[in-house]
Amino acid sequence: MCTQSLLLLGDEAVARAALDAGISGVYAYPGTPSTEITEYIQQDPDAIARNVHRQWCANEKTAMEEALGMSYAGKRALVCMKHVGLNVAADPFVNSAITGVGGGLVVAVADDPSMHSSQNEQDSRFYARFAYIPLLEPSTQQEAYEMVRAAFDYSEQLRLPIVVRLVTRLAHSRADVCPTPPRPENPLAPASEPSRWVLLPVHARKNWDVLTRRWPEITAASQSLPWNRFFPGPDRRLGIVAAGIAFNYLHECFPVGIPFPILKIGHYPISPTFLDTMKTAADKWLCLEEGAPFLEEQLRGPFSTPLFPIRGRLDRTLPRTGELNPDLVAKALGLNPREGPPVPRLVPPRPPSLCRRCPHADTYDFIRDVMDNYPHGRIFSDIGCYTLGALPPHNAIHTCVDMGAAITMAKGAADAGLYPSLAVIGDSTFAHSGLTGLLDAVAENSPITILILDNETTGMTGGQDSLARGRIESIVTGLGVAPDHVAVVTPLPRFRQENAQRLRAEIAYRGVSVLIARRPCIQIRKSS
């Protein structure tokens, strides 16, 4: 019985564990479903008293690099991001396996199967495998706590970063968690081996060779860790591989015990001895994993000629895409799921929408007033609340791809001759990935008109401080946009005509102009 059990989201369990493991800093850019990890640390009295670094970073790449710097200095650091954040952080992430780490370095990545709040459902296990970085995947909030505690020791033992992979349903589900006694922070102890840390080809080749030689050893040694476990079962007609939270859904289907042998996966890479066990324990295997058919493809082998029959997402025993749930798992096991009453036909979907009196709505109003006269013009948008401008009644944007792509895609389209080419980007997204693209546009004086929607916060993820706040004009002019073509407008209905006029004038100018539509998010105004 736990004496001090806490009610924590999966995200918060990661945060609590990292604090108890003695981190000296968390480095992150917000992103659903990972945001609450950093927010927990920002509000934790213990973190505040210890002065653990807990400010938001400009983006996931800067976060990963700052954490690597802290690790270089000997201290423990946590980096958090959503799955697509790992694309942005990929360069330092992959190379951190070549340098290795000093103080323990844990990268908590939250995947979003079914894309509840994302533009794709990429699976971070591919990244970890690609980079030769071990990955832990918890199935419960308690395991998230235990794995993150262990991951810091493991990281220091292997001198490698460790990934902890969460998925939305674990990140955003609360359960009782029993913590263990905290450990002090590491002392300052900067690394001093340039051959590890200076990745000149002459060093990097050696490090890379060492890493590839160590990988089979790491794989074999993982067998003695508690995260991958074989549970024998009497009914050998079917064996079940259950990774991460899929293990819970499996148990949900068999309240009084599972008759089949189970291989529970929580650590990647997986020791090959488990493959021998699988060969003898059951005639065929069902793969239950959240996200991509990652294990399933490996078990099938490159030419889909597996050692034993494999069922899973690839043969559509389970849906190929989207998240799992207890009903899908029950169906895959041939069990008859229960069903409640049907949803009456009169129930329409209720998609998210911009809040009433949202400044973005007023911005889209004056943009449309102007752009309705340019049927061949395009509005390249970006990621944030303002992406909801794609939906009725606004119908105001043509693209949304990845953070920062508004400015760069507008420039590329202008290069191709498209006119007018507009970019619409939020203030936090601009800080994240807009600056470098703007520099490209300035360098060629591209004929594009950029609207920075400055609601003075990171609205989509719940109102975190935007690093661009109070600095946008100086950033924009500092990068070289002509001051005559930088203007601040106030998106309010009473300025609609005036704002439209200004936009028309900037579109007529065949160079880079930036309009900053500034009005605070009504959500932050409400809460302050």
């Binding site: 609450e36 509840h116 359960a175 799921p337 009169l346 998210p352 809040c355 009644p393 989509m460 719940g462």
Partner: protein, 199 residues
């Protein structure tokens, strides 16, 4: 003891405050709890739900399987109908707020929604916002919903009242008292309404 329920509403209505109150109560009973929440995009005025599972034994899935929820507590009438496939067809209760949130063009005529809710054998439909306003606590509609659902929940009312008192303690005694008054009034209302029988 095992109790599964879904709390449904619209992003911005603060349905997590209801889950938090029930979570508090569950912890005082020493029960296990799993509470799946919606954060992110859908919170911007979209349909949101929270799966809440209470048990005296360890709980496996964070999500409730279909046909298992003993209660759908909806802070909005349209949202009351969205998760019906999760409701236990033999024992499940539908407790819903009448007050519509019309942030979409295709919002159906509310009377058709009320009729669909009343078609269920076990339901309680009332206006939580009106009740909260009448008791001079306009922000306590969610506590009214909890009060209305309380006769169906596996708690003594005192346990829930203690959770309310603890949750609002920071805001001072008068806020605690007004929330308790709303809770009790809604509970009374729900107990007074006879259980309807299927038509």
């Amino acid at each position: 003891m095992h109790y599964d329920m879904i709390i449904a509403g619209v992003g911005g209505q603060g349905i997590l405050s209801i889950s938090a109150l029930i979570g508090r109560a569950a912890l005082t009973r020493g029960w296990h709890l799993k509470q799946s929440e919606v954060h992110g995009m859908a919170q911007r005025g979209g349909a949101v739900q929270s799966h809440l599972r209470l048990s005296d034994r360890p709980i496996h899935s964070d999500l409730i399987p279909r046909g298992r929820a003993l209660l759908i507590l909806a802070t909005e009438p349209l949202e009351a109908l969205r998760y019906l496939p999760w409701l236990d067809p033999e024992k499940g209760w539908l407790v819903a707020n009448e007050e519509p949130v019309r942030n979409m063009a295709a919002y159906p005529d509310p009377t058709t929604l009320y009729a669909a809710i009343r078609a269920f054998p076990r339901y309680f439909l009332f206006n939580a916002d009106t009740l909260a306003r009448q008791l001079q606590a306009p922000r306590a509609a969610n506590v009214a919903m909890l009060g209305a659902a309380s006769p169906r929940l596996p708690f003594e009312p005192e346990t829930l009242e203690a959770a309310i008192a603890a949750q609002f303690a920071r805001k001072g005694d008068s806020v605690v008292q007004s929330n308790l008054a709303v809770f009790r009034a809604a509970r009374k209302e729900a107990l007074r309404t006879p259980i309807s029988l299927a038509p």
